[in-house]
Subunit: 503 residues, 2 copies
């Protein structure tokens, strides 16, 4: 993040990270704020990334036996009352449907009419409505497990919104499973967290830390909430996915009972797990630079753009044909389940053309002019390198090696993000040092991942949150048992936890 | 539809078609009514059909240059007022969000709180909200065409609902395009209708008739509504897709203007086109029989079920292994972009096992026992044949020929539906004969497709609708110009139109 003389994005990350984020989205044409309060419009370049995530993640779900289904958008108000903790967590921020038609009033103005006997809530999450179905579907242990997922929109009313990170309506997947035993439900909870972690690391090139939330950060109504946390370039943490072990809490609320093999009636054990378009916000913040978006090749809307060098007033047929042939040859290669996807941009807009694609973050740009055709070469630039770095390559070698090039870019992005995370992760044992780090809000240490000891008390957790806006992101699974003293109260602790400022 | 001694579904189509339809959905485990008013739950077997339709249709959209995007679920009330005809068409039946949170009242009961300054409508369709975006995106003719599609849920409040055919919430795709010229917009309207017609015929095996709606049946605000109409087994028509030429009406309402090549400011020409989960209702009603659902192979959730013949108290390892090997060999074959998908059902539930799969409509059932393994054969049944028809086949030939078998079933279903449609289509020129046909509500002629002359007047159209509940489904594109007399008023007419009772 060294100073640059000229960048495509203003402000730079260093100048104003929050504004830089908005500008990246605008410059890449991914999405825009809509005039509808708190909702965004996902434009084709942004939505295609979500499509790629959906398709690839969905295939992985299915390999574990999960099947997709679809449940109603609306939840009757009474359902929310079934699970007390859950409603406290969600009732504060939801869209409430109270009428089922519009009529014209005396002035010809449209007004709500047809008041509903019971208001409906636009789903903020579907535990209660899916629980109602599972209750009807579950009689015997033979009906279990039930392994469901749905891709859907959900609504949580938000006062302060940021595209992809926090919008009133967002797109997500929510998995819901019911099991005959606690052991199986716990296993499924962890299996899905592992799937998320592998997916986010391998496809979005975002290194994550796996762990469980503290009691105060749990999903409302869960017995255990596990999560993956990634570091953004401003050194804040972003939760990129969660998987909840719900114990028998939702089964009791929704009456999901079954007869076990011994003929005894029991409540099922349930899980839920979700990821959302928030992952895209994370992807933007982990990889993009001061020249625009950087998209990991495995989820990129397109992999290669060909920029034919056309001369005004000359016959450009040969160059145009050569570009088409190159596109066809590349499209013949398979990269993570889809053909290598190639755009040809022959707009006559000068240097802005190349910059447009830099800003959109396409992994590979190729210039192709008469000299390249004569030499059987392409002039190639990779988005993981500086924009000034372009290299001439043998055309046949480029075609043969395209998937290796894409894999290499993918690997560079992951390695770079991991190195950044490691360079900004600290093990701190002294309270003053901990406070100094987070209170020093300027420069390179504006935020960090800090592994420190914690006594397990809510009081210490809240003290640190109040003082520094720093929270325990998770109790990492791979944090070794070791003796230490709580970073806040100095009482004995057996394990370090991960602290960070969070999105 | 001859009488049968015993069927898996009660009542049969002849006994009670409407109830038969509900029973098919239940017996096949596709979906169920949810306790949420007017909404259904799509269970995995039903949702997988929608997934297959989505994936295959989406690929076809993209080939025509269409890109997916996603627009807000909520539409501000004021947007609906921009296009007068449109709001009259939709305001009658929509979910209105008036509050953004819930609070506990004095009795601890949850009640809506946080009233919105402007109510929001849950989208019944997205013309107005997408128009708002297109208005911002369109400055010059260079910004056109805009070719967008979204896969989404929409809500139209319905008092009488039927699963897949009419539910308050349903899933659909809605395409929206904006063009610089009328000609281009009209071409796109017809291009998408052709795409729908080919898709429904080739993938859902449902023959359709293409045409345009009369003025009174048009989409609210459209200049022209084109449609495809299919015949169900009760001889009613179902509209399986529509494509609208919106003229400049929505562009005026949403202010979608651009400068043309001569520097003049003009309104864009827009189209919209949609298909929905209603297609699945059509698929059920066209192909299913008194033994259950029949799913065309190209959109079937799974293609083959293997039913291993297991003996109690014996070592069944060999049979189980053989079933797995057969599954793997079949999965190696590609059928319309996916592997041949195979289920193995080894439940110990006797004859109910085979019937379950008949009722689910899986295209091919295979029994596999020790004798089959010894002889290297399989005992195969096709869902397009009578349930008593099973044949022993060489195992290797079965594997080699599976995609041909599936294509043959697909073709049989289409041919059968087309023959049924033709057998129940009449050309009628005498009013009395027309009335006799539709008033004779019993037996084979309970409904039909009738091609008759129509003078073009709304009065005649409404008279017939009032008398017989028969409507003009469309003015078919391939109906030749010919002199005739209106079936209602006997005035001169130049063309026959398609009459039917409709869903």
């Amino acid at each position: 993040m060294g100073a640059k003389n000229k960048t495509a994005i203003t402000p730079t990350r260093e100048e104003d990270y929050a504004q830089w984020y908005q500008e990246i989205i605008k410059a890449s044409d991914m999405a825009e704020n809509s005039p509808v309060r708190g909702c965004m419009v996902m434009k084709p370049w942004g939505y295609a990334i979500w499509e790629n995530i959906m398709n690839q993640m969905d295939a992985q779900f299915k390999k574990t036996g999960v099947k997709n289904a679809y449940f109603p958008l609306f939840i009757p108000l009474s359902y929310l009352e079934k699970e007390a903790e859950h409603v406290d967590g969600f009732a504060k921020e939801c869209a409430v449907v109270t009428h089922h038609k519009l009529e014209k009033d005396a002035n010809g103005k449209l007004v709500p009419a047809g008041e509903l006997a019971e208001p409906l809530i636009v789903r903020p999450t579907s535990e209660t409505i899916i629980g109602e179905s599972m209750s009807r579907w579950t009689t015997s242990y033979r009906d279990l497990p039930i392994l469901l997922n749905q891709w859907a929109n959900v609504v949580r009313w938000e006062m302060r919104t940021r595209m992809f990170l926090r919008t009133s309506e967002f797109l997500w997947q929510e998995g819901h499973t019911a099991h005959a035993t606690k052991k199986e439900a716990v296993q499924r909870t962890l299996q899905m967290l592992d799937l998320y972690a592998d997916f986010v690391e391998e496809r979005l090139a975002m290194p994550v830390i796996k762990g469980r939330k503290t009691v105060s950060e749990r999903f409302p109504g869960a017995d255990d909430t596990t999560c993956i946390e990634a570091m953004m370039q401003d050194r804040r943490a972003l939760q990129a996915g969660t998987s909840h072990f719900l114990g028998q809490n939702f089964a009791r609320g929704s009456d999901i009972r079954f007869q076990n093999e011994d003929g005894q009636e029991q409540y099922a054990w349930t899980t839920s797990w979700g990821t959302s378009t928030r992952m895209i916000g994370g992807m933007i913040m982990v990889h993009s630079d001061d020249d625009g978006l950087v998209v990991p090749p495995r989820i990129a809307p397109a992999h290669v753009v060909i920029l034919p060098i056309l001369k005004k007033g000359e016959d450009n047929t040969k160059v145009q044909e050569s570009a088409k042939a190159l596109k066809a040859a590349l499209a013949d290669k398979n990269f993570y389940g889809r053909p290598v996807e190639v755009e040809i941009d022959d707009r006559d807009i000068g240097g802005a053309r190349g910059w447009d694609w830099v800003k959109k973050g396409i992994p590979v740009r190729v210039e192709l002019g008469p000299r390249d055709i004569a030499n059987n070469t392409v002039f190639m630039a990779r988005r993981d390198k500086d924009t000034s770095h372009k290299e001439s390559m043998d055309r046949d070698l480029f075609i043969a090696g395209i998937t290796d090039i894409l894999d290499s870019i993918q690997q560079t992005l992951f390695d770079r993000a991991l190195a950044f995370q490691k360079a900004n992760t600290f093990y701190i044992d002294a309270r003053q040092e901990f406070y100094d780090l987070y209170e020093n809000t300027g420069g390179a240490r504006n935020g960090a991942f800090v592994f420190s000891h914690w006594c397990g008390s809510r009081a210490c957790e809240e003290q640190i949150k109040k003082d520094l806006s720093v929270t325990i992101r998770c109790i990492p699974f791979d944090s070794p048992k070791e003796h230490g003293q709580c970073i806040c109260c100095e009482k004995a602790s057996e394990q370090r936890v991960l602290f960070a400022k969070a999105y």
